[in-house]
Amino acid sequence: MLEALTDALSLALDPSVLMFVALGILLGITLGAIPGLSGDMAIALLLPTVFYLEPASALGLLVGIYKGGMFGGSISGITFGVPGTPGAAATTIDGYQAKLKGKPNRALHTALYSSVAGDTSSDLILIFIALPLAAVALKFGPVEFFALYAFSLLLISALTRGQLAKGVAACALGILLSMIGRDPIGGSLRMTFGMPELAGGLSLIPVLVGIFAVSELIVQVSKAWAAKSRAIVEDAKEKSKMFSDYDAAADKLPFRDFLKLWKATAIGTGTGTLIGALPGAGSSLAAFISYGLAHRFSRNGDEFGKGSMEGVASAEAGNSATSGSTLIPLFAFGIPGSATAALFGAAFILMGMSPGPTMVRDHSDVIYALFIILIYANLVNLLMGKVLLPYYSKMSMVQPRILLPIVFCLAIFGTYAAGNSLIDVWVLLGAGLLGVVLRLYGFPLAPLILGFIVGPGAERALRQSLLIGGEWSYLFSSPIAIGFYATALGLILLFTLLLRNKA
């Protein structure tokens, strides 16, 4: 094994591999920052290069894109309020608020550090504990998954400022939107109103970017229009000024301050790693659950939703911590647990390796090289992030009148490019209008996205459980499931009591 390790080191630390990693990260960050586009897309586009490159270089490129993409999504989320990738949606909640308060740099750095922290832990777990964790993941069948999804619905309260009833309504609306299309069990069409275009349902990216981002853009545009119409500001100030007043010196994040966020980051990392290892769960769910749990256990819970760095750290750590663990089912069983894992699986196949436990045994030098690359790519990500972030912070302060049209068009074409689907564009715009209406009447948006993400999985898991078990009691036949329900009940009781005590 030692020999394989030394082979791997020489493979992984080759300068050309380092170059590909850096290129990949640059590509990933850039594409991830564009709403609608994601690292997955870049990986899919560049899969053919795997044929022409050395295995380590190819892996370096793909790993770089992946990691860069994960972080890139939150750049766009923080600077423009438009999550660049679904996983960045939770980061945007507090990140964008922070930018509106003049602290984009602080938020971006928080996101960067927590992203790297979560990513590195997740990679270490992949490398050292993949197999036992995979065995646990296999124990998750329909019954356990339903318990997990039911548990995550608790987060509605964490994601709602104001009336809980409106949060519940938003979540239910999200669930309804996710049911449009074909019933996953019976195959019949639901709520398509006779439009065959809706037979495939609504995709996550157009709904997410539409509800969060397009609606925000609409609100900002109307503010910009109002500002233009009001004859207040002197022309002198407005000359050819591109940037609004921004005091970069006051907007820094000393490392000391980041260390204070250790609790939120740890919660995010742990949650993200666990959820990432479950096939099918997804990075946005991990991010939301991390955010919700951090909110519940934070001393400054009231700050969440108003630009709290804890909010940013927990969400981003949760998102990035799925990166290594999502590959666990692939390595352990050859089962891709997410679209990204499937793409990596395809890359392994193209390199002549068949994903699964035999991969580590039969190609130990390449796989160990991959592990080494995974770790140091995080460092490169950190370095590149530190270099690029000041530019992004500055860019975020470009005057809205210039920025808004560009971001709007990027959102439209980025979403189109994500699936090559015209329907996605119409859904994007429709969701944008819905998002605006919801904002105006005081409904929180995050629960809607939560409902949309959780709905299909929850329904499928529940109905599969009933088909397998035959009756409702089957849902309580698993200790893992009971564990989730008990914890959920416990949390509800705990916080109701706490609220009573406060009052």
Partner: protein
């Protein structure tokens, strides 16, 4: 000043990215072929990275030399594949926009979905490969063979849970056909795809699953999974020890296939040219090695053989759908 410099930086970055990535996009072809210079688009109604995508990319790499223009694979999974099919249907009938698909989005969809085209509007240009649906289970399960399965169901009807992706999809219809033939009933557990099916089988949450051989070949070899039978006329190349249902005495065969379709009003000479240049490309050593590496199992067939298979599938699928009441 700052803004102009920023613009320059942006432009340079874009150019570098383009230059770095350009060659990976597929080789430029030679200019003097009957198909001209504009690229050929192979449209697949599924997401990127899957079996169809990987197989089609073999042509991207090898065919431009023989066919002329560049070849792009475009993945359009919207509206469960309907968008891709419509995109090809609405494109020019010049042979530049082709559909690469299995029978779901074209045969099954043509029956159950509200579409404006019919099965006769499509002509296969060639077949890449046949995919043979295979029933499998985990290694330590009681059921060891097709006979065991049948015996269990005869003793206790509905006692076996069977996971499959997509209701009425290519790994579900063979099961329905088998049940129609034998009168036996399993409990069908639809899943979100091959990955979920495999997790559920390996985790012991369901008894049996059905999938395509390439995804379980490695596991069957190292003993993690057992393959029970294949719904085809002949055994799968990657699973030579697994009997077909026909061998076991059940006249049930419903292979899936990956074909390239053109609209029927594309000129016959164009279709013939495409068939020839694609088949030539797939016979090259590069293509063969790519196919081997990815377990794509490319075994091409020309227009006539494909058309026969297509018509046969249309008929069989139509019968099944009518029998279960999905269509009249």
């Amino acid at each position: 000043m700052m803004m102009q410099r920023k613009g320059l930086v942006v432009a340079l970055t874009a150019a570098t990215l383009g230059a770095a990535v350009g060659p990976a996009m597929g080789s430029e072809g030679n200019g003097d072929s009957p198909l001209g210079n504009s690229p050929i688009r192979l449209v697949i109604p599924f997401g990127p990275g899957g079996g169809s995508d990987m197989t089609a990319r073999v042509l991207t790499a090898t065919a431009p030399e023989f066919c002329g223009p560049r070849i792009d694979v475009v993945s359009m999974s919207g509206a469960a594949g309907l968008e891709a099919v419509n995109y090809v249907m609405n494109a020019e009938s010049d042979g530049h926009t082709l559909l690469v698909t299995d029978y779901g989005p074209i045969v099954t969809s043509g029956y159950v979905d509200d579409v404006e085209w019919s099965h006769d509007d499509w002509d296969p240009v060639m077949l890449f490969t046949e995919w043979l649906p295979t029933v499998y289970t985990r290694a330590d399960h009681d059921i060891d063979s097709i006979e065991d399965w049948v015996a269990q169901l005869e003793a206790e009807p509905n006692s076996v849970t069977f996971a499959h992706a997509a209701p009425l999809g290519i790994v579900h219809l063979p099961l329905i056909l088998f049940e129609m033939e034998t009168g036996l009933e399993n409990r069908h557990i639809p899943t979100s795809g091959g990955g979920e099916t495999r997790s559920m089988v390996m985790g012991g949450h369901v008894d049996l699953g059905m999938t395509l051989p390439a995804s379980i070949a490695a596991e069957v070899e190292n003993g993690t999974l057992k393959a029970l039978g294949t719904f085809a006329d002949e055994r799968a190349d990657v699973l030579p020890d697994v009997p077909t249902f026909k061998e076991a005495g059940y006249d049930v065969s419903l292979p899936a296939w990956l074909m390239i379709f053109a609209k029927d009003d594309v000129p016959q000479e164009t279709k013939a040219f495409l068939q020839d240049c694609f088949m030539e490309a797939l016979a090259t050593p590069t293509a063969v090695s790519m196919s081997d590496r990815t377990n794509a199992g490319i075994d091409p067939r020309g227009m006539e053989a494909s058309a026969d298979l297509y018509r046969n599938t249309v008929e069989v699928v139509g019968n099944i759908l009518r029998e279960i009441g999905e269509i009249d």
